[in-house]
Amino acid sequence: MVATLRTRPGALLEILHGVQTELGFIPPAAVPVLAQELNLSRAEVHGVVTFYHYFRHSAPGRHTVRVCQAEACQSMGAEQLTEHVKKSLGVDFHETTADGRFTLEPVYCLGNCACSPALMRDEDLFGRVTPARFDELMAEWQRDS
């Protein structure tokens, strides 16, 4: 991947996306390798990895659930939804369930503000998610896996 992308202008972000898509996170061991390949310092690569909320430093669960925390969703009960999701999964933000199935993350706007509150599971978006709707979704996800 590095070999195909390294010559592109501003390649580091694209490469990091590629690594995360492939592995689910950016392993610390990747930092010196990328630094060498792109002729950057380790500090520069580490600085980029840690700047962006999306890049993870440890392996996530099989699915990542992102619950929107922004104003439009707050106006429609995002706070109650968030509490409900945390309780249902038994984890706080940035944590993974004991069975390794779900990682829970906050997100600041999914662009679904006319269908608030919103959450995303991996790349699937859900709107008007009441706590009851979340329970239905969980039941569907249980069946799928």
Partner: protein, 514 residues
């Protein structure tokens, strides 16, 4: 003959089950041996009716919604594929009051065309602007954009033509055109809808910008929270290359323009133009000190246009219909139309594109139908997390740059987030500070430290501790952030805080002492 049925692939529609509806329609059609073609269009922007299914009939496109997969058999029973009567039938789509009274220029094709079909795009008037631009000199293209009165729709509202002229005037071999698609403001989704519903309009706008200033490379910087938009953009760009509207020989003119999409990685501050350029270069998205302006020293140190999605998507119609056509919409120094987004606690949320000058009241009650909860609307926040809270007593204000500025508010990207009377404004003020603390790039102290101190001060106010002294401290802190921050993140976070305090002081002062 095959019947055309439209089921949106817009994220909002998908979030309410459009994919299952499309699959159910395909399965039911196969089972009943009905010959129909499902087209995955964008959204018409009436989200309380999504998933909105449309059928092409002799009387025009007729709509059904909101449709669930479970409704599909009964829709077939009712003969919806020939426009049959059903409890979800809404009639001719274009005649629905929410749509009929709009003035859709930038959004003229969104929800109507197949977003990734170049031939559909051309059939609906696409690429006429580029055709026109190819027959004009670079200076004349820039002049047309200047004469249209178009101002940056991302929030800063800088005259687009002036930005373009600055880039055109730079005598260097390599220039860039970049599109800021890092639509991070809560309550905004116009960029997303356009990219998912009519991405070729954006591609055409970027191509015209490239021709106008002499740039051969364009980048769309898209936030990674928009995976569906990413997919549609990639398909649309590939189709444009295939049809030779992009590449070495744009429309047989011998002129080159290349375009690619780059993904952000979840950083609100990258919506600030210099931070976006840093991120495009593969670096930390820390803001740059200006000057130099990006138009002089931008991406990789070269002269660069940075425009928002809606700004660029408004360019094709300005070229095809002329600057005067566009300028004749609007009021004062707010020319043209504005795609407004109704969001949050609103009954009829969605997209309203109208000439500048509509009042908040008209938008909230005539288009929006009041709050979703049925309770009184207490306030709206216009312009994203850095926008002011406007109380109901000021809902007569016109939604344009100057009128909002006159009451201490701002238009931003045209998102309106609605809150009912259960909202606690002290908590919203705290949230504004918290959001700034989470998203600060860290380069300047007023933003990085000020926001964290702001959360602490708000925590004390909410707890009722030493209220008057902490309110004084909050005002001083806001003043420091306003005056001392390098960019809008730290510099504008005080707007929601101080407007909440000004209009809803009772939420701050009446806290019981713990």
């Amino acid at each position: 003959m095959s019947i055309d049925v439209y089921v949106p692939r817009d994220s909002g529609a998908l979030s309410l089950g459009a994919e299952a509806v499309a699959k159910a329609i395909a399965a039911e059609a196969a089972a009943r041996d009905v010959d129909l073609r499902i087209i995955r269009n964008g959204s018409r922007g009436m989200f309380w009716l999504e998933p909105l299914v449309e059928v092409a009939t002799a009387a025009g496109r007729v709509a059904y919604g909101p449709v669930t997969a479970a409704d599909v058999p009964s829709l077939f029973d009712a003969g919806f594929h020939t426009g049959g009567e059903h409890r979800l039938a809404l009639g001719v789509t274009g005649e629905l009051p929410f749509l009929k009274s709009q003035q859709r220029l930038t959004f003229q094709r969104v929800g109507i065309v197949d977003p990734v079909s170049v031939s559909d795009y051309v059939t609906h008037g696409g690429y006429q602007g580029l055709r026109q631009a190819l027959s004009m000199s670079q200076a004349d293209i820039v002049q047309a954009v200047l004469d249209s009165g178009l101002r940056g729709r991302g929030g800063a509202a800088f005259p687009t033509g002036i930005k373009w002229k600055t880039v055109l005037d730079q005598q260097v071999p390599q220039k860039y055109v970049t599109c800021n698609a890092d639509e991070g403001d809560s309550g905004t989704f116009a960029d997303r809808m356009l990219m998912e519903g009519d991405p070729l309009t954006l591609v055409e706008g970027l191509t015209i910008a490239g021709l106008a200033v002499g740039a051969t490379q364009g980048y769309i910087y898209l936030r990674c929270e928009y995976p569906h938009a990413y997919q549609v953009l990639k398909e649309a760009i590939a189709a444009a290359y295939q049809a030779r509207y992009l590449g070495a020989d744009v429309m047989g003119s011998g002129r080159r323009f290349d375009l690619e999409v780059r993904l952000g990685a979840g950083a609100y501050v990258c919506g600030e133009e210099t931070s976006m350029l840093e991120s495009l270069e593969g670096k930390r998205g820390e803001i740059r000190v200006r000057p130099p302006l990006p138009a002089i020293k931008g991406l990789f140190g070269q002269p660069t246009i940075v425009n928002n999605v809606i700004t660029l998507a408004s360019v094709p119609i300005i070229l095809s219909k002329g600057a005067a056509f566009y300028r004749d919409f609007g009021t004062g120094k707010s020319r043209g139309t504005l795609p407004i987004q109704l969001a949050g606690n609103i009954k009829q949320g969605g997209l309203v594109e109208r000439a500048f000058g509509l009042t908040l009241k008209e938008l909230l009650y005539e288009y929006g139908g009041g709050s979703a909860s049925g309770r009184a609307i207490r306030t709206v926040q216009v312009g994203g997390p850095l926008g002011a809270y406007i109380p109901a007593s000021q809902f007569d204000v016109a939604v344009d740059y100057e009128s909002l500025s006159a009451i201490g508010a701002l238009l931003g990207h045209g998102g309106i987030v609605v809150f009912d009377d259960t909202i606690d404004m002290a908590k919203m003020a705290r949230y504004a500070m918290e959001f700034c603390a989470i998203e600060s790039c860290g380069k300047c102290t007023p933003c990085r430290i000020g926001s964290t101190r702001g959360v602490e001060v708000m925590d004390r106010i909410i707890a009722g501790v030493d209220t008057e002294r902490n309110l004084q401290l909050l005002e001083e802190l806001c003043e420091t952030m306003l005056q001392g921050s390098l960019c809008g993140l730290g510099g504008m976070t005080p707007f929601p805080v101080t407007s909440a305090l000004k209009h809803f002081a009772e939420d701050f002062r009446s806290r019981a002492r713990h």
